[in-house]
Amino acid sequence: MALETRDPVISLEHVRVQFGRRIVLEDISITVGEGEFIVVLGPNGAGKSTLLKLLLGLVKQSKGLVQVLGNSPRRGNNAIGYAPQHRVLEADLALRARDVVGFGLDGNQWGPGLPSRKRNTLIDQALLEVDAWDFADVPVGQLSGGEQQRLLIAQALLTNPRLLLLDEPLANLDISHEQEIVELVAQLCRARHVAVMLVTHDINPLLPVVDRVLYMANGHSTIGAPDEVITSAKLSQLYGSPVEVVQALGRIFVVGAET
């Protein structure tokens, strides 16, 4: 297949986003192709979530060109699956796991919705795909953080998206569950050939699966392979202050960044 004839999944050209006077993203240009696994890194307030909201059509750029699958971003785009930064659904006893996943299929349609076998099958398939079928009928309030994260990913998959936006899916997970979610997302990315943009604080669990890293700080950004981007020189330039990248115990640490 001639890839160049297809539109890139994401294309940003010299984009600026500002809220009032505060500039959140400045002169960001990236192109993401089909099935690429992009990890978005950066300190708090660097505009990572804003970038996802820009692609979803929830915020607008004040400058530059944004294209998602060849079109301007718009709300309700079925080609995008989205799982926002997750809060624990402790109090929610009133929904079962499959109800949460079902929202991804037809939660935006009017009317009460008739029970249908086709709908159930689609939901079951999504639950099986994220290995969540076992607890399909359990109230979501009783599920662990990792289990709830699986549901949110299943929900995001139901419209067969070509782009998956995951905001901090690894937050509040212990190491073994972190690993499970990383493997799940990587597997979905390859099997479905869906482009993934995953926001996180810690690159380490994702190093084996990531294609490119988008590092954001101070409103600026740089993108490339992990070993190109996460270097002392590159990050010092991005932060505008000395930053040291340290390798220890087979893990990468960025020192002096979180100020």
């Binding site: 309700g76 659904l89 929904l95 929202f103 939660g107 009017w110 919705g113 009928d137 109230p139 662990s144």
Partner: protein, 308 residues
């Protein structure tokens, strides 16, 4: 005992009560999952203040009811857009309304019978016309809630994703509250402010603890609300002038308390499909440690026992 059913005022009370109970149960379910229980308390009281204002102006209290509840609904949705601000917004608006209500009543020289009946209801004193109006309004509200059903549910549980999927979340929040305001305004004239709150919150709160599927929870809430209402009217009619509101509120509280106490029996159980997934890793770390600890304590206990 069942002779009372022959009286037309009892028939009217039952019919109107059932209509209100059904709508209140459905609206109440959404109010609870949206964290709007406090609004269910505030709106009837705000309506009372509006009715007092209307009486002072010499117009039908109904107009005051509608003006105040709908105004408050819009005010709450604008001021309380963020979840953590919502109860504050409701509280501020309700205190303003109650302040106005007291002012209106003190300015009005006579005894405002119509206004007090809105506070406590007059379910056994309503006409066939009242019943008809209540029934039509209830059906319209129910139809609208059915149309809004899925987006309303989606945006109640996950507003961020719902907005990204194109659901007009803010507009929906306002439309829903206005719908509740209209329901409250119509129903309050029949059942009173106290009973309105009971029927909004009681049945749905109980149903949510019994079943998880949204549609089933709503059906159960309707069944509970209708049962409380009918039983309450029946008991009140057979007692000598004990108020209906007392019976319905007490029934609602009693059943809720019972379910609340017993629900750990079924809510704690996870309806897992296979034993495979009930692994130790499904438990939070602290629990696992506790288990291991208690196991080791048990072992020590046994060893000591055998050494005796």
């Amino acid at each position: 005992m069942f002779d009372i059913l022959q009286y037309s005022f009892i028939q009217n009370a039952l019919l109107a009560g059932i209509c209100v109970a059904v709508v209140a149960a459905v609206a109440g379910y959404f109010m609870i999952v949206r964290g709007l229980t406090f609004a269910g308390h505030a709106l009837p009281n705000i309506g009372f203040a509006g009715a007092a204002g209307a009486v002072l102006l010499g117009i039908d209290p109904v107009f005051g009811l509608f003006a105040f509840t709908i105004g408050a609904a819009i005010g709450i949705s604008i001021l309380g857009e963020r979840l953590n601000e919502r109860d504050t917004a409701i509280g501020i608006i309700m205190t303003l309304a109650l302040g106005l209500g007291i002012l209106f009543l003190s300015l009005y020289a006579g005894f405002a019978q119509e206004v007090y009946s809105i506070l406590f209801g007059q379910i056994v004193g309503i006409s066939r016309t009242n019943v008809l109006v209540t029934a039509i309004a209830s059906i319209l509200t129910l139809v609208l809630l059915l149309v809004l059903f899925r987006p309303l549910l989606f945006s109640s549980f996950d507003p961020e994703v719902a907005e990204a999927r194109g659901v007009p979340v803010r507009l929906l929040a306002m439309v829903f509250l206005v719908l509740v305001a209209i329901t409250v305004s119509l129903a309050v004239q029949v059942v009173g402010a106290l009973l309105m709150f009971t029927l909004l919150v009681g049945p749905a709160a109980t149903a949510i603890r019994i079943v998880q599927r949204p549609l089933w929870a709503i059906m159960l809430a309707i069944a509970l609300g209708v049962s409380y209402t009918c039983l309450g009217i029946f008991l009140a009619a057979n007692s000598v002038y004990l108020p209906v509101s007392f019976f319905i509120a007490t029934l609602s509280f009693g059943v809720y308390l019972l379910v609340r106490l017993l629900s750990p029996l079924w809510i704690g159980r996870r309806a897992r499909k296979s034993a495979r997934s009930i692994q130790v890793d499904a438990l939070p770390v602290s629990q696992v440690n506790e288990q291991e600890q208690s196991n080791s304590v048990e072992t020590i206990g046994r060893i000591q026992e055998t050494s005796h």
